[in-house]
Amino acid sequence: MTTTPPAPLKNRTLMRPATVKKSRSKTMTWLPPILVFLALIGVWYAITYLVLDEKRRFLMPPPHEVVAAFFDPDTLSEILVALGRTTAVALVGLAIAIVIGVVWAVAMSQAKWVERSLYPYAVVLQCIPILALVPLIGFWFGFEYPARIIVCVMIALFPMVSNTLFGLQSVDPGQRELFQLQRANRWTVLTKLEFPAALPAIFAGMRISAGLAVVGAIVGDFFFRRGEPGLGSLLSTYTARLRSAELFATIFVAALLGVAIFALFGWIGKRAVGRWYDFSA
């Protein structure tokens, strides 16, 4: 047995000749979105100063006013407190959605009849306009924290269910037979084969659900303002008071929260399975 060991991966990367090319391609990945960003800011200014007359300028305050509004100490603390609460609701909602989603999918993967019985409801959950249910949820569970969590979970749940199920079911048949030949029981197959094999799909689902959890938390907030509301209620307050610069600042913070949570779960997924699976971040 004389096998030449393959060069360690790090050396292989070194063998790539073109560092120049690499840095250029890096510029090429960053430059276009930056240009688009600058163009958007340009359009924004154009709308503010060229399209809108002074009386209607509050509809689209210029970018620098939005930035100034954000850094106003009172507004900033208001936004940050709301951000903290929304983040907390989103994370708790996401955690619950992950647990329910995975358990639901595992149950369906264990028997065809369970899947046939339960999958339609996952689809229904995905299809019904949650907003139509929101008043009912407030009616039943009060207009505080629990209702916000429930809305968040309902919005974030489906990708967890469908992705986990897909992952569990896409195990290589040969690997299944390998386990079958050793007469492995269902639990062993689940824990040693199906679940690990499903992890990339589960993490991909988690990332989608994470983005939706932020949406859910803000939607919940928007409707349920008792207790300690977050970004959603801040948005509606600023709208009601025509404080448009603050409104814009809050919208950007909400958007950034979504992006940050999406990126965070992308990173977690990469850390968890990137060793053996090409998890695109």
Binding site: M1, T2, T3, P5, P6, L9, D172, G174, Q175, E177, L178, F179, Q180, L181, Q182, A184, T188, K192, L193, P196, A197, L199, V273, R275, W276, Y277
Partner: protein
Amino acid sequence: MTIAPPEVAPATTTGQLLHFEDVAMTFPNGTTALSGVDLTVNRGEFVTVVGPSGCGKSTLLRIASGLTPATEGVTQVDTSRIGYVFQDATLLPWRDVQSNVELLAELNGVPKAKRRATAKQAIDLVGLSGFEKHLPRTLSGGMKMRTSLARSLTLDPELFLFDEPFGALDEITRERLNDELIKLFTEQQFAGLFITHSVSEAVYLSTKVVVMSGRPGKIVDTFPVEFPLPRDPEIRFTAEFAELCGKVSHALREGHH
């Protein structure tokens, strides 16, 4: 890995490990994959089945391993220690070489220390020492197959089933693995049932070549191979080897109407 329980006869004595009598297999959709197959694999034998693709060769192994029951005939398997090497390496990508090789022992509830030692031995046998911590994605096709082979070796099989294991490898790797497999066969005293569509691989590896025809798969001819074991790689270039390959190829073509 050579430690056999005392009641097991050494490979030199004959004794049947696998016996098919008039075995037939018809799938629920009505396709007949095999019909009237009689085949015996004894201790000390390495039987290779060659046949065109889709002739039911793999079905034969699935029946032997118990993955799929035959629809007709008698299937008798006289050992519970069966190794099965699939067409793909079927390694679990999240486990490194060491823990992939340990998998079967782990599934059979072997304590950690013992399965670690067994796996280590098997890894040595297939020449992968030093690669224990490597993940499958960093291995070449040949090394993946070696890992898969090592994984089955941990079962200390008496009967080893191979389903075209080297079919996807390049010629050089395939020949090298053939040499190593025949060496393992000579040393480890398992009986082999090997499926391939390569005539020279069949002749080189086996003590008996069985030729199958397709649709429905049945055995059309059997050739004993009497080159001494372990095989000298050079026999591939002898006239006798070429002649036997010719006969097998001829039988293959005859059966392929």
